[in-house]
């Protein structure tokens, strides 16, 4: 690990590079086969466990120099010291220093790969390739070097990963709600909102009486200038006027293909669960993952089913969904084994950047987040999901899984690595351009002027066997509680940046708006 090299002095987290193995829970699958009949608690712990397990790529990415075969024991004994964070937001515990937990699951899986010719690629550290060693990521496209017997092996892994009743069942169940969240965020931005309608009226009045300040965009853009940049563009997308009587009749635009025409990046795509769904919805999707194993699994899966591999050997990346193509709206799916950083360095931009259940596994969330932010096109969306650092999540991941159920060995405080919603939102505010780059939420949460974007909790309800998207008003106890474990984050980039005025305040604030 290259210590210190990735340190960003401005980071809210202000942590030097850490070499922490993420918590790996042993496979619970063997212990509770039928998760449908599991009592609630074990389901919850399974949920946690699945979340851990479903991103083996990113786990592996945090393991330095795995080009040598390793065993659980070795990993376990690799006690890694880290710098204590100099800044921790509102917790006495550091989010980022933990001893190294063992990982039965992944080490088993990885050891299956130990004869892989490109083993070093598979186990390449996310971090290594991320910043210091761009060349190390060069040998990424090695799918073609996989031989047939390995394909069979990967097919088996893939079917394991895609087994909905198996180990990753909870992840499969989480998928619909993640897409629902994306839908809400993307589609709500396409309608007249009562508040935006108000403000555009307001806007017109302003334009009738332009103030002198308008002329100087950079030093003191007032509301009207900044609106002329963003609002008119936004209203182009508006299909229907919101009224009380028509509010239920607003048709979903482009049903079934509401992502068509959108360029989407899925960072940490794993076996491709989310990517495939986004593609079916018409999206032009690129799924990336640092683990070659995952990419092969994802490709194998997409090739069968109703996804068609159109161009065969020459370009194994382009996959089209036949149903979508038939209706004249082509969804595209492409998988690449690479890191987000490398993609960013290629200058790629997307309408939507999603990264689900990844943030809690990366070693340098600050770099990672910035990188994702960079790849969002103006007007585009950034959507993440992760786990908060709360007593609830500690209870579920540590107390239940480790101490009570004994599912993981004690002393694995990966919990410290989790990021709280408000920390995330503050980070986007302080380090990712704040409100000059990202839009306000147009709701009461804008009162938190030091936070960018919105978050929503996601809880697994074992009774109905479903994840539920939790509602709640920012600042209330229920909101705080219901995003205490898994939560989603959304922020939308402005079409054009808005610059700060002389007082150092971002111009468009909740006060300016109403």
């Amino acid at each position: 690990m290259k210590e210190g090299t990735s340190l960003t002095s401005t980071s809210r987290f202000n942590i030097s590079s850490v070499t922490i193995l993420h918590l790996f829970y042993p496979q619970l699958g063997a212990q509770c086969k039928d998760q449908d009949t599991d009592p609630g608690l074990s389901i919850m712990s399974r949920s946690i466990q699945s979340l851990r397990n479903h991103k083996p790529s990113l786990f592996s990415s945090t393991i330095p120099s795995l080009s040598t075969p390793f065993s659980t024991q070795q990993i376990h004994s690799r006690s890694i010291s880290t710098h204590l964070p100099t800044h921790s937001l509102n917790s006495s515990t550091s989010p980022f220093n933990t001893p190294t937990p063992p990982n039965n699951t992944y080490s088993q899986k990885t050891s299956l790969l130990s004869n892989h010719p490109n083993k070093s690629h598979i186990t390449r550290s996310f971090q290594n390739s991320q910043s210091q060693n761009p060349t190390s990521a060069r040998r990424n496209h090695s799918t073609s070097t996989v031989n047939p017997s390995e394909i069979a092996h990967f097919a088996r892994l893939s079917s394991e990963w895609w087994d909905e009743k198996g180990e990753f069942g909870l992840l499969h169940r989480m998928n619909p709600i993640r897409i629902e969240y994306i839908r809400q965020k993307i589609q709500s931005s396409q309608y007249h909102h009562p508040f935006t309608s108000l403000s555009s009226e307001h806007n017109q009045q302003q334009q009738q009486f332009p103030s002198e300040h308008n002329k100087d965009l950079h030093t003191s853009p007032n509301q009207s200038t900044q609106r002329t940049q963003s609002q008119p563009l936004e209203s182009e997308e508006c299909e229907e006027e919101w009224t009380f009587s028509t509010r239920h009749q607003m048709k979903e635009e482009n049903p079934g293909y509401w992502l068509s025409g959108k360029k989407i990046l899925d960072v940490g795509c794993g076996g491709g669960l989310l990517s495939e769904s986004l593609t079916r919805l018409g999206g032009d999707v690129l799924g990336i993952d640092a683990s070659e194993k995952n990419i092969i699994m994802a490709k194998l899966h997409a090739q069968d089913g109703l996804f068609n591999l159109l161009s065969s050997d020459t370009s194994p990346h382009d996959i089209q969904y036949t149903g979508a193509e038939r209706k004249g709206m082509k969804g595209n799916l492409e998988y690449k084994c690479m890191t987000a950083e490398k993609l960013r360095d290629q200058g790629k931009k997307f309408d939507l950047v999603v990264s689900m259940e990844v943030l809690e596994h990366v070693d340098q969330p600050e770099e990672f987040l910035k990188c994702l932010g960079d790849m969002v096109k103006p007007g585009g969306h950034l959507i993440l999901s992760t786990i908060s650092r709360t007593p609830l999540s500690r209870f579920l991941t540590i107390t239940m899984a480790e101490s009570i159920l004994g599912l993981v060995s004690k002393g694995t405080h990966t919990w410290n690595k989790f990021i709280r919603p408000e920390e995330l939102k503050r980070f986007v505010h302080s380090d990712m351009g704040g409100h000059s780059i990202w839009q306000l939420n147009s709701d009461s949460s804008d009162i938190q002027t030091d936070q960018v974007g919105s978050t929503q909790g996601m809880l697994y309800n074992p009774l109905i066997g479903k994840w539920v998207l939790m509602q709640g008003v920012e600042g209330t106890f229920s909101k705080k509680w219901n995003q205490g474990c898994n939560y989603l984050f959304h922020a939308r980039k402005r079409r054009e940046p808005v610059y700060e005025n002389i007082e150092g305040h971002v111009v468009e604030t909740v006060y300016g708006r109403f």
Binding site: A155, R173, P176, I179, L306
Partner: protein, 553 residues
């Protein structure tokens, strides 16, 4: 793995183009996401010519079902009810169910008028034709839905990665149905490009078995069923009677020792009969002359059981000489005055029957162990067959269709793989318990009311009386029977969320009602010292249902 061209690849293949299959196809076409994205094939083993050309004229069909108010309003919401031939449906405003275990006792269950019809008697053909026409108006150029008739699925296999199903299709033997000229409006929708001599393989992301009680899809999916035959056959036929000053909108059902007999209104002067008997009696009855059978039906509603038993003995003991049998029966019948017996409200006196409409069907109760296989789903009679005495079979199928189509739409609007278990599991979750409750309640009801013996007689009489006494149980029965229209045009909000089985208009919630019902039931039961497996079963299934309701909240 067979090579299948993209043309032969479908997102959804529906097997069975009868009630459930057509309703599902129609429902899916009204779902925006499914419609925009999916390619659907409806496969029917037989010919659909009759469905295509049926115009609401001619004699009444003998397959008639009561469509509950709830399902009627749902059919309206998908635009299918508008295609129903309204001259051929009959509202049911009132329902009278009774038994007469002893001369002194006539326990009666009366469902009084609700202010709106509780159900509509509809020929299955009428419904199917309406659904087909709605399908054609929704998708005139078959861009989403293709109909393939006279083609049977003969085998199915899962692809190696489990992401699709290969189906082997063979043209049915009776495939030479001349395309009728009057069917031109519909004919273009059916694909006839297959070579009838050739088998062909198609591929589907999801196979839906709407293929009836002997469901091949269920067999290919290795789904076992639970249940038992009733050793009962139902005779159906069309009855004619003079119009009476009362509207013919009341359904009558009497529980006879051998099984129920039902009189269901079709029009002012026509009604349909469903009469359940052991197979031997059924065949004897069918062999009677038209006149004797007519008299028999009239007596079956009015005679005391003791007299009827004598006839039954005749019917079951002497299959051989029909003429003799008729004679003997007439002898008994002549010895009793027809309209002395009872103050029971009776159906209109029947004058004649349509001989050609007489048909009989074996009745069995069965429930598939699961509605989901690997990339297969069961709906309608493929998933469950129920004793028709409560008129729920087709209605359960429509409720299945409603639930499944919503489930698929939600999954598809979120980009899900609609054949995957995760995306389908809401459907059985919504339907299995509900169906099971109806199946077992109907089963027990049938058992209790047809069994003989003193104890059973007691329970039987009390059973009906109790049902009448205990308002909540009755209401549960009624709401289970879908008598309340839940779907209105604006109730799209039901999609995906609440189920349309609430107790509209009764101040109490479902749970409360159920609790009331159970409580008063146990009270009465204690008082009478009855240990009746029947109601305990109903109650425990009810509890299961209650648990389900709680889950859904």
């Amino acid at each position: 793995m067979p090579e299948v061209s993209p043309d032969d690849t479908y997102d959804i293949v529906i097997i069975g183009g009868s009630n459930a299959g057509l309703a599902l196809a129609c429902a899916l076409l009204t779902k925006p996401s499914i419609r925009a994205t999916s390619k659907i094939l409806l496969l029917e083993g037989g010919s659909m010519n009759k469905t295509r050309i049926w115009n609401g004229e001619g004699p009444w069909e003998n397959r008639v079902s009561s469509i509950t108010a709830e399902n009627k309003s749902w059919l309206e919401s998908i635009g299918a009810w508008q295609h129903i031939k309204h001259s051929r449906i009959c509202p049911v405003e009132e329902m009278i169910v009774w038994a007469n275990p002893s001369p002194s006792s006539t326990p009666t269950l009366h469902f009084p008028p609700l202010g709106h019809p509780m159900a509509y008697m509809t020929e299955n053909q009428n419904l199917q034709t309406a659904l087909l026409h709605r399908i054609l108006s929704l998708d005139p150029d078959s861009s989403t839905l293709k109909i393939q008739e006279s083609s049977k699925v003969t085998s199915m296999s899962l692809s190696s990665s489990g992401q699709s199903v290969f189906l082997q299709l063979t043209p049915s033997k009776s495939t030479t149905v001349p395309s009728s000229s009057s069917s031109s409006a519909v004919a273009h929708n059916t694909s006839s490009e297959i070579n009838p001599n050739n088998e062909r393989t198609i591929r589907a992301g999801l196979v839906i078995g709407a293929d009836g009680p002997n469901s091949p899809v269920r067999k290919f999916s290795n789904i076992e069923t639970y249940g038992h035959p009733y050793s009962t056959h139902a005779i159906v036929c069309t009855l004619h009677h003079p119009s009476s000053p009362y509207l013919n909108t009341t359904a009558f059902q009497r529980f006879l020792p051998s099984g129920p007999i039902a009189f269901l209104p079709l029009s002012a002067t026509s009604s349909t009969l469903v009469w359940y008997n052991p197979p031997s009696i059924t065949s004897s009855l069918k062999s009677l002359s038209s006149e004797t059978f007519t008299t028999m039906i009239n007596f079956a509603f009015s005679l005391p059981e003791t007299t009827l038993n004598r006839i039954y003995q005749l019917l079951s003991s002497s299959p051989p000489s029909t003429a003799n049998l008729t004679e003997q029966i007439n002898e008994i019948l002549n010895s009793v005055p027809l309209d002395t017996q009872t103050d029971q409200t009776l159906p209109p006196r029947i004058e004649s029957i349509s001989q050609e409409s007489i048909g009989s069907f074996p009745i069995k109760m069965s429930h598939a162990d699961s509605y989901l296989g690997q990339r297969t789903v069961l709906v309608g009679d493929a998933a469950h067959t129920i004793h028709p005495l409560a008129g729920q079979g087709l209605n359960m199928g429509l409720a299945d269709v409603r639930s499944l189509s919503n489930t698929l739409e939600i999954a598809r609007s979120l980009g899900g793989d609609i054949g995957s278990w995760t995306n389908l599991k809401d459907y059985p979750k919504e339907r299995y318990g509900e169906n099971h409750l109806l199946l077992s309640a109907t089963d027990k009801l049938n058992w209790v009311f047809k069994s003989r013996g003193k104890v059973i007689d007691g329970i039987r009489g009390i059973g009906l009386e109790l049902l009448n006494e205990i308002e909540p149980i009755k209401k549960l029965f009624m709401s289970g029977a879908g008598a309340y229209p839940i779907y209105t045009q604006t109730s799209e909000s039901f999609i995906g969320g609440l189920k349309g089985r609430g107790m509209r208009g009764t101040g109490k919630g479902k749970m409360e009602m159920l609790a009331d019902g159970l409580e008063s039931w146990w009270k009465v039961k204690d008082n009478l010292g009855l240990v009746s497996g029947m109601m305990r079963d109903v109650a425990s299934t009810g509890l299961k249902k209650a648990a389900e309701v709680v889950e859904k909240r």
